[in-house]
């Protein structure tokens, strides 16, 4: 039987919802137990959030000032040591956090990593995308090795809270931590809007929006819909918005219920990031744009005319 260890992703004392998405993925493997490992300087509040997730049987915490920031070189040896405490699988979200740390864990353990799990066939067989999602492969990992994997968060809904909280235990790890890697700072885009990665609705603008100033109409429509704001790579490269808003293969891969693409032509790399959206709406002046090939609802026209009309129709 499998025992899965999930590495909690957190920031500013809050658990990231990507962790609960990993729990949903782990449950697909029908394990006997799921533990969540919280590495932090002050893990108590984060651990309490993780303990409430339905399906979690235990939460392990390692409190250490060195764990204040998620430095892969510092986290990886601790994760590798914790994983060897009887686990068969180690999962983390395929966010920049998990992508950074998990291969380091796999290499320390001398095992392969399965990146971006999108479907669990059985405890050692998984589906994952390659070529920017243009092909899906089924991979088999050896059953006699610890399995390290990252989970494509857009493929899994977040597990809800269970009836009762799982026990939280402090874990003592005798691991030497390196000092060769030091956190300097984190520049976060400040926003009162919903978080792009987890929002139910997202409005994105592309090169067709034309300028950073013009992006105001995207923000305005998003606020009207209670949506997060995203952007295509072209809009980010043109300097209209910061890079943390980028949606696509090299940006964020998202799965909102409603995705509105405005002035976005639909390069493959962008489409890869929105494939799992519930309903895709495209507004573009070019009726031949590739975005219309995957849009559920398309509207051809001038976005500067359509958006004000849309706001009015929304009431």
């Amino acid at each position: 039987m499998s025992k899965v260890l999930i590495i909690a992703e957190h920031l500013n004392g809050r658990l990231n919802s990507s962790t609960a998405r990993c729990v949903t993925c782990a449950r697909e493997a029908k394990p006997e137990a799921i533990s969540v490992l919280v590495l932090a300087d002050a893990p108590a509040a984060i651990a309490a959030e993780a303990a409430r997730i339905d399906g979690v049987s235990k939460v392990l915490t390692v409190a250490n000032p060195a764990n204040a920031h998620a430095l892969a070189a510092v986290y990886a040896p601790q994760i590798a040591a914790a994983a060897q405490g009887g686990y068969t699988h180690v999962f983390a979200p395929s966010t920049t956090f998990g992508k950074d740390v998990m291969p380091r864990v796999a290499a320390l353990l001398g095992v392969a990593q399965v990146s971006d799990i999108m479907k669990v066939t059985d405890a050692h067989t998984f589906q994952r995308p390659i070529y920017a999602g243009n092909a899906i492969i089924t991979v088999q990992a050896p059953a006699d090795q610890l399995l390290v994997a990252t989970v494509r968060t857009a493929s899994y809904p977040a597990a809800g809270n269970g009836a009762s909280a799982a026990p939280v235990e402090a874990l003592n790890l005798a691991v030497d931590l390196p000092t060769h890697t030091r956190f300097v700072d984190l520049a976060q885009g400040k926003s009162d809007r919903p978080d792009l990665q987890s929002a139910g609705r997202v409005v994105s603008g592309g090169r067709g929006v034309g300028s950073a100033e013009n992006f105001a109409i995207i923000y305005k429509l998003a606020d009207k819909l209670g949506a997060a704001v995203g952007a295509s790579r072209a809009a980010v490269d043109a300097g209209y918005v910061p890079s943390d808003l980028q949606v696509g293969q090299t940006g964020k891969i998202i799965a909102p219920e409603l995705y509105v693409a405005i002035g976005i032509s639909g390069a493959i790399q962008h489409l890869t990031g929105i494939k799992d959206a519930g309903t895709i709406v495209a507004i573009n002046k070019d009726g031949e744009a590739p975005i219309f090939e995957i849009a559920d609802i398309g509207l051809v026209g001038d976005l500067f005319k359509i958006i004000p009309e849309l706001e009015q129709a929304l009431g």
């Binding site: 243009n134 492969i137 300097v184 509207l299 051809v300």
Partner: protein, 248 residues
Amino acid sequence: MKILVGYKRVVDYNVRIQVKPDGSGVVTEGVKLSANPFDDIALEEALRLREKGVATEVIVATIGPADAQAHLRNGLAMGANRAIHVVTPAAVQPLTAARTLLKLVEKEQPQLVILGKQAIDDDCNQTGQMLAALWNRPQATFASKVEVSGGSAKVTREVDAGLETIEVDLPAVITTDLRLNEPRFIKLPDIMKAKAKPLETIDFASLGVASGDHLKTTTYAPPPKRSKGVMVKDAAELVAALKTKGLL
């Protein structure tokens, strides 16, 4: 100081990938091959560090079949001083690639190893991190800015929450993100000059690398298709369609 650059050959990013009807792989016969775009960015960054006087030598390395030599010549034409070709008949998985690169690191003793954050064929995003772990050195992944001074590097990383800056002691592994730089174009005279640059060939088997190819790919499938959508003629119809779907 020396910089070692991982330089993988992949199916060109403009090629529309087709899965073979029998599910045994993707069509690569007769398809254009190019340098992995993130590796071009890695090489460009190494060249800029040399031009700034930070580095003295840039080595491009690849692990691949015998015909990947032309690909390495492109790296030399772009400006690398020399190239190392580890010849393997078949593609290797990231853990094997990292173990192989570690052999090159032990031989060349670079202060920096720069690689693309991922190859656009297998999309694994693992090799740089694995190399850093095996080498027991720092990693700075998804770099959008690199400043080297003295014995350390300050690297700005593109993370989901924004831009994170970390400081790493050298030697270290850096993996590149899109916005680190814009790679230069190769000029014709440089292609001629590249022919005279040293290119060392090493047989993979001679390195004594334990294979880390533990994963078996059983089938390839095309991605599920989204069903064809509808076109509406104006904002009012769009709002009505969203209401019908229960989205408003």
